[in-house]
Symmetry: C2
Subunit: 466 residues, 2 copies
């Protein structure tokens, strides 16, 4: 495709996306297709000759859109949001156009330095402890997802706990233990399995039945029991805004217990952490100065399209120890000078995309002021929705809802609650998902789209309470 063709079709694609943003509400939120429908409409074989770009755009409308669940729809309340915004999409487009690999500082210095810089900016915006900034032994990096962040944090923890021996000897089955709340994301169990510890290494910390936060005294008891059995407590994960209900674990107490046991504390605030752009939500950072690593996802609730997980470590030594390899074909003067960051040693892959561009674009376009307004609007809408739920005798709230996630159910029972969910989802008017709280089914309404306004929340409540 020549630059002139790219210019022409590029304008068409931009217009297609702008139009899509304008007509988002015309689609059912949840795709209505059955398994196999999309594939059945596609030709079985690839084309022998190239096709006009217009045909792709036409097929996008005809064949692909019916199979899309519209995550950017203002009435998408499922899972957690994965919100995009104009500046993020355009920053990402620039990354595609430049097409550089930031695996080493030397392979495009700006890709590395802008990433380090905007993660310091984000640390400033969230008022994170100074230890996570890049001017000391710590620093930030963009990971794909919070699952990847949890995995590399675990690898760093194992490196530190073993004095570096795991890199050579591997992890002996049964030697190390990992601790997290029963409310925590499945990513921690997946990380344990990937890292060779197995799911048996994972200890689930009991939660308080009211707050759903993990109980520090149970964490301490689990660690004590392991130490007594000769097992090394290597890794503790505290959730700030757990996936099911938004529960916030007591990070400060977890930090003290982890430190005393020599374990690494990772704080996973994938969804909730970015709310700290607004000072009234900085309680989310309480105790973070005792954490070894921290992750939050601008690709969830900070207007940045997937993927963009911001991950910081207080001391990068163990992370580099766990992941550095320098084969001959990557040797270069800058790396050997020791004055640069080579981000390939901070994550699983070697190659890496210039993802800092989109975060830079988001922060510059919205400014601190715009980011605060974005968070505050969603929290205000969620509070209003929660008040409606609380005011209706047929419903009950089942967890604290200080942010933009509201968890609730029908008092009538689990079947009724699930039935209600299936009915509203099938209507196409809104989309929400469920979880289990205290052994009972609850619905989750998570607000996150930049297009969501008060009228969408009102309509959601009308559909649910109808």
């Amino acid at each position: 495709m020549t630059p002139e063709e790219f210019r022409r079709y590029g304008h068409e694609v931009i217009d297609w996306i702008a139009d899509y943003q304008e007509r988002l509400e015309s689609f059912p939120v949840l795709s209505q297709v059955a398994p196999g429908d999309v594939r059945a409409a596609l030709p079985p074989d690839p084309p022998e000759r190239g096709e006009p770009f217009e045909e792709l755009l036409s097929d996008l409308d005809e064949l692909i859109l019916p199979g899309i669940t519209h995550w950017q729809h203002p009435a998408f309340f499922a899972y957690f949001p994965a919100n995009a915004s104009g500046p993020a999409i355009l920053g990402d487009l620039l990354a595609s156009g430049l097409g550089v690999q930031g695996m080493l500082w030397a392979t495009s210095p700006a890709a590395t330095e802008l990433e380090t810089h905007v993660l310091d900016w984000l640390a400033t915006l969230l008022d994170l402890p100074a230890r996570f900034r890049s001017d000391g032994p710590g620093g930030g990096v963009i990971q794909h997802t919070a699952s990847d962040a949890a995995l590399v944090a675990l690898l760093a923890a194992l490196h530190r706990a073993s004095g570096g021996r795991t890199e050579h000897e591997g992890v002996a089955a049964g030697r190390y233990a990992v601790y997290t709340s029963g409310q925590t994301h499945s990513s921690v169990e997946k990380a344990c399995r990937i890292a060779g510890l197995g799911a048996d290494a994972l200890r689930k910390v009991d939660v308080d039945p009211q707050t759903l936060a993990a109980r520090p005294e149970h964490l301490r008891a689990l660690i004590d029991a392991d130490r007594a059995a000769g097992i090394v407590p290597a890794f503790v994960v505290a959730s700030v805004g757990a996936t099911g209900t938004g529960a916030v674990d007591p990070v400060r107490e977890f930090a003290a217990i982890a430190r005393a046991a020599g374990a690494w504390l990772h704080v996973d605030a994938a969804w909730a952490g970015v709310a700290a752009v607004a000072p009234e939500f900085r309680w989310l950072n309480d105790g973070l100065e005792g954490a070894d690593s921290y992750a939050t996802n601008p690709h969830k609730w900070l207007l940045t399209n997937f993927d963009c997980d911001a991950f910081w470590v207080a001391d990068r030594t163990a992370l580099l120890g766990a992941l550095s390899i320098l084969p001959e074909f990557l040797r270069n003067a800058a790396t050997e000078s020791g004055t640069v960051i080579d981000y390939r040693d901070w994550h699983v892959p070697l190659g890496r995309r210039f993802r800092a561009l989109k975060l830079w674009a988001v922060i510059r376009w919205y400014g601190a002021e715009g980011l605060r307004a974005h968070i505050r609007q969603h929290v205000a809408l969620a509070q209003e929705f929660a008040a409606w739920v609380a005011g209706d005798d047929r419903f009950e709230l089942v967890a604290p809802h200080p942010l933009s996630l509201v968890t609730f159910r029908l008092r009538a029972g689990d079947d009724e609650t699930l039935g209600l969910m299936h009915r509203v989802n099938a209507s196409g008017e809104l989309y929400l998902t469920h979880t289990q709280v205290g052994g009972r089914t609850a619905l989750r309404l998570a607000i996150g789209s930049p297009w969501t306004q008060r009228r969408h929340i009102e309509a959601a409540w009308q559909a649910l309470s109808r």
Copy 2:
């Protein structure tokens, strides 16, 4: 950013990229900045108020471009290419604009079904064995990179070798062994470390000094020694187009040895594999019908921007066994019906981008015909370059060069060879990197940009032989 603002700035960004493509040759290929230069030019703090988008574009030109090493430049011959093309960039842009998460079939059916479909298309284009297609027990998925592919293949291998016990019990240190050529990418060692086996589990197979291919008889001897010592041979990696020199391991013989030992064979053809779009390069697939998994990167040499690693398994059972977890918040009717693919169970992260769109766009725009022409042009240019090297007494070729990578050195010695590389790289006219072959330094010229023409190869040879 409103849809109208997005439309306006989107057109500006498209024009910026089209202009960038037109002026690529005006830039030095290798960035000339020193460590810290880029950051020093950026404001220390994020903006309090939002800024006009024009300022971002202006800073992109002034502050970022000097720190860019231009991977899309027609005289970029370093590492392996990471080529982008217009349709790929626009397909990726559509993915950003739609902003869907394909973690489950249910979260956007088209994202899953198009991915399965285009990986079948790609299997057809490359003439891969039928066992990798999705209509049997196998199938394909897009991974971030070949490093991720090697990691998940290793996890599947450990699952199979342990009868599923590793998921619970973890990997006992010293129980499993992994085998690969000394020429193989560092990704295999990194995967061993991540998976908890440690680098000690990795056996390096000797290579033939002429072809640089791994020697099957040495693989067999290593495996026999491990089995005699009670160690389980779990995972064998054959490289087709190794990073340093493009060496091709004997996959057919590796497959027979791995099968006899009960080990999983993964074939890593990250760079070279896509050349099989042209029938005359289908020898690259020889023996693949005996492999358990296969990876090649459209983001290297098939016109698709990063990231897009195509990964296939012959039987997905072990992969799903290694990576499946179904927490309550992800339960849904489609998953429970067993009739759909949920790609979250095929890789490390949970969330995933709609990356099939860009591969779909590339295949449709170029067609099989256009993809073959793309590969053939680069191979022809490399053969011409190799002939010039061979015809100059000061130089020597150091490895076979059947594709688009030529490895060569100055007969004068390693210092002279490295000195030459530093001189030409510093000139900004071209960029190439080095490796070690048989204990001596060699230069690598890898052709891969869609903008590269004969005159760029001529100019490179003139600069090198001057």
